[in-house]
Structures are given as C-alpha cells and as structure tokens.
C-alpha cells in the first residue's frame, strides 16, 4: 500500500509587521461551481442508473432508491413500507439473514436505510475495490427477497417495539399525528410511516409479497453510485447484476389527493403525554416542483434556521416565551407544507407566542428583508447545500433522491444558483402568497 503524505514543515517568522500593514488577504468571493460529471443510463428492465466519479479517496457509495413510501399503503395496511425496508435485511435467495450487514461490516463499510412518505432508500459506502460485493447484495434482494413467516414475525415485533419507544421518547407524537391529519386530509399522506400497531399485527406474508412484487422492481428504482469508479467497468458490472432482474408491472399513479380546504382552522388536542402546552401552525404551500419552492426554502432559513433566525431570536432568545421551536418546509410527493411547532411553559405564554409568531409572519409579508439578512440566510442554506456533496455518500444520496422526486438529475451548481438568485422582493411576494389567513392551528393542551 503506498500513499503520499507530505508533511512539509516551514518555520515562518511572520509577526507584527504583517499585522500592522493591514493588508486584506481575504479570498475572492466568487461563486465556485460545485458541479461534477454524471453518467446516466437506463437498463432494459427500466432500472435508472446514475454514476458520479470522485477519485479523492478509495471509496464508493451505492444507493438504491425505490419510488415507494407510506403513501403507497392501502387503508388498514399502514407500516407496510417501513416493514419491507426492515425485511430487506432479512435475507434473499443467496444472502442469509442479516448477512448483508455483516458483509458490509467486515470490510469496514457503513450502511443504512430510510423510509419516508414517498421514498425507500438503501445505502452503503465501502472500499472501492468491493463495489461488486454491494452490487451483488443489492441485486439479490431486489431479485429474490426471502419473505418467510419467521422473519415476518420477528420484524413485526421489532416494529411494534420501535413504535412504542418512539411514543415514549416523543411526548408530542400523538399531537403531531393529529396535526398531520388536519394538514393532509388524505389519510394516505398523514398516517405515520411506522404504521399503527393494530395494522402491523394484521399484515400477512401475502401483503408483504404483493407490496414487494409491486414496488421493489427495477423499473420503479434508481441506482446511484458515486466514488472511485471506472465508469465502463462499473456499467458492465451493473448490467451483469441487475439487467436480468425481470421488469415489474407498471404502477398506476396514485389518485389525486383531496385538496386542503381553503379556510382558517383552529383546533385543540388534549394530549396525555405532553409535558408542556404547545401549538402547531401550518400552511399549504407550493408543490416541491414549483419555482416558488426556492424562495420558500430561503424563507424557511430566514424564519427558522440558526440562532439568529427571526423566530428563534424573538421567541426563544429575546422574549423567552417559548423554549422549543422547530419547523420548516415538508415535502410529501407532490404536496408541501410549511410547519411550525412551539412549546411554552404555560398557556399564557402560548398565546403570546402565537401573537409574536403572526407578527413576524406579517413582517415578512409587508416589509422587504434587508440585503444583509437575506445574504446571511442564503449563506446558511448554501453551507447545508454544499455539505451534501462533501462525501461520496452525500453525492449518491442527493442524486438518487433528486431523481426519485423529479425524474431527472439537476446540475448541483445550477440548482444552487436558483436559490441564491432569490431577492428580498421575491421573499415578500412569496410570504404574501402563502402565509395567508388560511392557516391551520392545533393547540396542544395537557390532559
């Protein structure tokens, strides 16, 4: 193994002299392109493949994303998407139970999976000479998942336990579900990803097999690979492992979800778990594919991101009327919501929080934000955005997620420019458009 690590020691005698000169050595503030070359192709069975080379380290990240999540579950079958994510580690025709984890662990790799309302994503990073091992593992579970009753019962029990733990760990779990029911009238969009215990218990092997057969198909998936790869060789390997997996049936699109009623709504939820009074505020906003999503994202940073964001500064730091504040934009397939959740010490404080909150929302509607403040928010956003591309896994995940959402891959540099192009006027216009009187409030009282 050879490496080249140069450690050049230089003694620089630089003292007060340079300091007093006051020369400005700051780096030029030009936007730096973060674009990187991408290769994209489709296999005969419909599997979408995206490759990105990065030779900085001998690593490769492999992401397999399926276009399925909790919104694809039928009534009474909640938890199925998440259960299937867990089942994918229970073995397939040639891979034993939990062997996938061990085979990645043994070579120093990392792996995980995640299920959202509209996506299920499996990912791993390994030394680049082990790429074929990951392709072998991923293709085997895409091709021939082992769904047997013993596995199913174990996973169901683990899921039910996780369900209980989550409820115990989050005293506002129930109220959040109640709020989601108000914000997303279509139950497919609002039920918890982890599912209801009663539904999970009733899930059968048949349900799981059907769900797998319908959604875990190459034509409903994207394979994204980033890292130290030889593109041609990688393409050959991908074709070897994935191209003979049979294409699945076409999936019929989900029916249009019920629109949110255009009216103000204020409800109260009595929560037996809540430890302090709290409230939720939500707005229906533009679909994630809309051009308004760029200013909405910057608006989220202005209001909620960082210690110097407007709401944090006023409610938590200055007036100290709330002690927990979270929120932001939320995407579920073609729907998006702007959510804010605040916990206070007592009911009087909740009312003061609501007044202060509406006054802040009104401010962004009627007063243009200063250039300095918008630049700060954009810089915070830019940092988060750039961090996605810091690692090979970040790149592969970002490419897979973008593809699942948009059916295309955008140039990361061009995309960033769109966020950075948002002006104070656009922010004001966007706030006016979405922070309307048609808000939904759920007050949480202690039972």
């Amino acid at each position: 193994m050879s490496r080249s690590s140069k450690s050049r020691k230089t003694i620089l005698i630089i003292g007060l002299f340079l300091f007093t000169l006051g020369v400005n050595f700051s780096a030029p503030s030009q936007e730096k392109k973060i674009s990187f070359p991408i290769t994209q192709f489709e296999l005969k069975n419909g599997l979408q493949v995206i490759l990105a080379e990065d030779y900085s380290l001998p690593l490769v990240s492999v992401v397999v994303g399926y276009n399925v999540g909790s919104i694809n579950e039928s009534p009474g079958k909640t938890g199925l998407a998440y259960l299937l994510q867990k089942m994918m580690f229970q073995g397939s025709e040639n891979v034993g139970r939990m062997q996938h984890i061990k085979l990645i662990d043994n070579i120093g790799g990392i792996l995980n999976a995640t299920t959202t309302e509209d996506k299920t994503i499996f990912y791993q990073t390994v030394p680049s000479n082990q790429l074929a091992r990951v392709l072998w593992l991923e293709s085997d579970r895409m091709n021939s998942l082992d769904v047997n009753s013993l596995n199913i019962e174990q996973v169901k029990e683990a899921l039910i336990e996780e369900n209980r733990n989550r409820k115990e760990a989050n005293p506002y779990f129930e109220s959040l579900l109640a709020f989601d029911n108000l914000l997303y009238p279509d139950p497919a969009f609002s039920h918890p990803i982890i599912g209801y215990e009663a539904d999970i218990r009733e899930l059968t092997a048949e349900d799981i097999k059907n769900f797998y057969k319908t959604f875990y198909t190459p034509n409903n998936a994207v394979l994204s690979i980033a890292g130290n790869i030889d593109k041609r060789k990688t393409e050959r390997e991908i074709r070897k492992y994935f191209e003979t997996i049979p294409r699945g049936n076409n999936i019929s699109p989900l029916p249009e979800s019920d629109p949110l009623e255009k009216k103000e709504m204020v409800k109260t939820f009595e929560d037996s778990m809540a430890t302090s009074p709290a409230f939720y505020l939500g707005y229906a906003v533009a679909s994630p594919s809309s051009a308004d999503f760029y200013p909405l994202t910057i608006l989220e940073y202005i209001l909620l991101r960082g210690k110097t964001s407007r709401l944090y500064k006023r409610l938590i730091e200055r007036e100290r009327i709330g002690f927990n504040l979270i929120g932001g934009l939320e995407k579920r397939k073609n729907l998006a919501r702007f959510k804010i959740f605040i916990v206070s010490n007592n009911w009087m404080m909740v009312e003061r929080c609501q007044k202060a909150l509406f006054s802040e929302l009104n401010k962004v509607r009627i007063t243009p934000i200063s250039e300095e403040e918008i630049l700060k928010s954009k810089n915070l956003f830019k940092m988060d955005y750039l961090r996605q591309f810091e690692t090979s896994l970040g790149k592969a995940l970002s490419l897979a997620e973008t593809f699942l959402e948009k059916k295309r891959v955008d140039d990361p540099g061009d995309e960033l420019e769109k966020y950075l192009a948002v002006t104070p006027y656009i922010i004001m216009r966007t706030a006016k458009r979405y922070f309307t009187e048609e808000s939904i409030i759920l007050n949480v009282k202690i039972k």
Partner: protein
C-alpha cells in the same frame, strides 16, 4: 399396409415432436428457474485501491502558534479547528469544571462584540461554531464558507485573544451547563461511562472531569480569567485548517490575526497513568424506571503511545467488539439473545488508554451477560484468535479508515488527534502500512499484557429490576447518579463457607 405404415410413422413423428416440445419447455423453465451462477456467492474483491492521504503542511508563528494545513478541495468549505491544551485535567484542584466553562464562554462576547453579534457574524459566513472540552485539551471547531476565510480567522482571533467573560453571560452559561448535565443524567450510557471514569480516575488529576452540577454554580469570573491567563497561549495551542487552501495564504492570514497573541510559558506536569484496577468491582448506578441494564466494563491500560502496541490493540478491539460481526455482538446478541447491542472501544488519553466493553441487555440476564463478556475476555487472553479473525479485523480497519477522513470535520479531527497524542505514525501517516503488518502473535501478546487485569463493572439500571439477577456476585456497590456510594451489599456466606 402402406397406409398403416404411413399412419404409424406419422404417429411416431407426432410423438417425437411432442416429446421434443415437452423437453424444450422443461429446459426453458429450468433455465428460467435456475439462477445465474454468479448470484450464488459473493464476488471476489479487486485489489485494494491506493489511498492517497491529503497533504498536510505545517508552519509556526514566531509566538509559537503551530499551524497545520490539510488540503482537500471537494467542496468550498473550510474547517478551522483550534486546540488549546487546557483540558479538565488542568482545572485547579478545587475548581473542577473551570476548563469547560472557560471554553464555553469563548463565543459569548469578545472585546466590543456581544454574544449576539458573534452569532450574527458566524451565521453570516454560513458557519457554525462549537467548543468541547476533554481531559487533555479544549477544542474550538468552526466550519464556514471558503470565501469568508479572512473574516472567520479574524473573528476567531478576537474571541480567543479578547474574551469578554461578562458576568451575565457567565451566569447564563452556568445555568445552561447545569441543566445540560442534569438532562444527561437520564442517559444510561453517559452515567455508565462517567462512573467507570470516576472509579478508574479516583485520586488522579483526571478525576476533575467528573464534576457534578453543583460545582459549576460556584465558579466565578475571576476563576475563568485566571485559568484563561495560564493556558490560553499561542505556544500552548495548534490551529488546523482543512480545505482548498495553500500554506502561504493561510499562514499570512493566521499570522495577521494571531501574531499579537503573547507567548508565555505554560507548565504541563507529566501525569502518570492512573493505576489499573486489580480487583473485581461490581457497581450499580441507580437510574429509576430503567427497564434494561446498561453495562460498561473497563480498565486502564498503561500504554505509552509510542510503544507500538496501539495498533495490535486496535485489531484486538476489533476482534472483540468493534462491530456487529465481532465476538461480543455475535455472542451476546446473535447467539444468546441477551443484548440489544454489545461492543468494545479504546479511549485514548495523553499517556494511557482505557479499554471498554459496553452492552445494553435485558435486566434478567445481567449476570449472565457479564459472565459472557468475561468469557470473551478470557478467550482472547488465552490466545484463541484465529488468523482468519485477525485478517478480518484488519480488513475492517483498513477499509474503514478512508471513511473516517472523508468529511472535512472528521479529517481535521483525525489529523489533530494524531498530533495531540504524538501518534502521527500510528494514527495517520503510517496507519495503513502498520495495520497490515500486525500479526496474531502481536495481538496475543497485547491481550496477555493488557487484558488480563480484572476490569471494573458498572451496571446502570433500576436496582429493583436488576437486583434479583446479580445475586451471584460476592460484593456489590450501589451508587446514586451523582456517583455517591449509597451502600455496599456483601453476599451472605452459606453455613458451609462459614
């Protein structure tokens, strides 16, 4: 007759045809049903790709401030990491916590800048700033957008050179530290690690890092100023910069902002390693309503960093409990079904290490789990490690190393760690080569030398749920979550014993 023959021939050819068709269908089906050969077994890996470590340049200012520059150009972000050798072990005897409070105050006011103004400036650079304090050093981490390099270093220098230590901010921070500590006391892993440290560091300067919330309240502005004056010196600090930078530019900027920092001799007395525990101690820490038992077992390894034994110890740790494929996990969770998880780890300090086994188990198998962990320890010290296991452990360590240096903050951490502990070869430049050379004999010798002593055992849980399942132990010490001994229960000797 001819007709008959014709019919017979025709019938035979029909039969042949049907047979052929049947065979063809059968073959086609079997072709479809049987999988490709390559699917049956995992593919062989290709040869290991070359690891090119990022270049590290260094320079030092005339006031003694050392600068390390780590080259990485994948994203236009910079990680700035300032190390000050002012850890909790340097806190005065009667003022534990002062190192932590001093570090936490650094970004809460400087010269003419208020805490809020500092926050504004940091976030304007897209940045985030954190301070952490360990036993041997304090560290300030600052991530920001590349184009703000000069402003960021300028801001850090103002915070470090001219901290305000405003009384009001000190009081706020003391309250916040107190509640943070109180909150952590519901975390069984935090309690377990703390109790292990408390037991192993008894009477040693490292004991100061295990202070309780009440001591923070008594710290004053004067205490902070005195601590700051003693330790926050350029010749007692190192700056690490990771990103797309070159040494001349970085040196100029660092020099411009830090050259007025006045040098002063800082005395760090040599701290010998704490004495390793040599007797079996079972300690229960009370965590009311915890339904499971969190077990930590550990001991001090008086291992000087440059002894060449660190990497065999890494391999040993990997075999025992590095991942889900290691012995502890396979035994306690996969085979016995006792544990939610079971791992081991090595904590590195300036002049020694701590070896830890940690697991979370069902309360009713607490004793059995501890027994199994002891069995695993015995098995590695008896030399029952196959070459295959050693190679597998090395394969993990080699494969995982690039992952640890991928993101900028973790890259900075890795480089700084090797400099802090003077382990540049072991943890950085020769890590790969040296790990590859580790053999079974070295691992066995390391195990015999360091893991034969009996570790102290800490069980965090609700004594009501655990007590019936640990009656086999001769003596059990019971502590509250502040680490104060409540009682010691000794097993009643049976009539035969008496």
């Amino acid at each position: 007759m001819r007709k008959h023959l014709f019919y017979r021939m025709k019938r035979r050819s029909w039969l042949n045809l049907c047979l052929c068709l049947l065979l063809a269908i059968f073959n086609w089906n079997s072709l479809l049903l049987s999988q490709e050969r390559f699917r049956k077994t995992p593919p062989y890996p290709e040869s290991l790709a070359e690891l090119k470590l990022p270049e590290v340049d260094s320079a030092s200012l005339s006031n003694g401030l050392a600068l390390y520059l780590i080259h990485r150009d994948n994203v236009p972000i910079i990680n700035l990491r300032l190390i000050v050798f002012a850890g909790e072990s340097s806190s005065p005897e009667k003022l534990p916590g002062v190192a932590t409070l001093t570090a936490k105050m650094i970004n809460l006011g400087a010269l003419d800048l208020s805490s809020a103004e500092i926050d504004e400036r940091i976030e304007f650079m897209g940045g985030n700033f954190t301070s952490s304090v360990y036993d041997d050093y304090s560290v300030f981490d600052f991530n920001f957008l590349e184009e703000h390099l000069d402003d960021a270093i300028g801001l850090l220098s103002r915070m470090i050179l001219f901290p305000a230590f405003k009384k009001l901010e000190i009081e706020n921070m003391k309250r916040s530290m107190k509640y943070e500590l109180l909150n952590k006391k519901s975390d069984p892993e935090f309690l377990a690690r703390r109790q292990i440290h408390r037991l192993l560091f008894k009477g040693h300067p490292y004991e100061k890092s295990i202070y309780n919330e009440d001591v923070i309240i008594n710290l004053t502005q004067r205490d902070l100023a005195a601590f700051y004056d003693k330790y926050y010196k350029p010749n007692n600090s190192i700056v690490f910069l990771a990103g797309n930078l070159n040494l001349p530019t970085a040196s100029r900027i660092v020099s411009r902002h830090f050259s007025t920092w006045q040098r002063k001799e800082v005395n760090h007395p040599f701290l010998p390693p704490p004495k390793a525990s040599d007797r079996k101690r079972i300690c229960v820490v009370n965590l009311p309503r915890a339904k499971d038992a969190t077990i930590y077992m550990g001991n001090v390894l008086s291992m000087p960093g440059a002894s060449g034994e660190l990497l065999p110890l890494f391999v040993l740790n990997q075999v025992l409990g590095g991942t889900t494929a290691s012995r502890l996990f396979m035994n306690l969770r996969e085979s016995k079904g006792y544990a939610y998880w079971a791992f081991s780890e090595i904590e590195i300090f300036k002049n020694f290490c701590i070896f830890l086994i940690k697991t979370k188990v069902l309360a009713e198998v607490t004793y059995k789990s501890i027994e199994e962990a002891f069995n695993e320890l015995k098995s590695v010290t008896d030399g029952e490690i196959s070459s295959f296991e050693i190679e597998q452990a090395k394969s993990y360590l080699i494969g995982n190393f690039p992952l640890q240096i991928e993101a900028l903050p973790s890259l900075s951490f890795k480089v700084s760690e090797s400099r802090i502990f003077n382990l540049e070869d072991e943890l950085w430049s020769k890590y790969y080569e040296k790990i590859m050379l580790v053999n079974s004999q070295q691992v066995f010798e390391t195990a015999r030398k360091y893991l034969l002593s009996t570790p102290v055992v800490v069980i965090v849980g609700d004594p009501k749920n655990i007590i019936d399942y640990i009656t086999e132990f001769e003596e059990i010490e019971f502590y509250d979550n502040r680490g104060i001994l409540q009682q010691t229960i000794k097993k009643e000797k049976s009539s035969e014993d008496r």
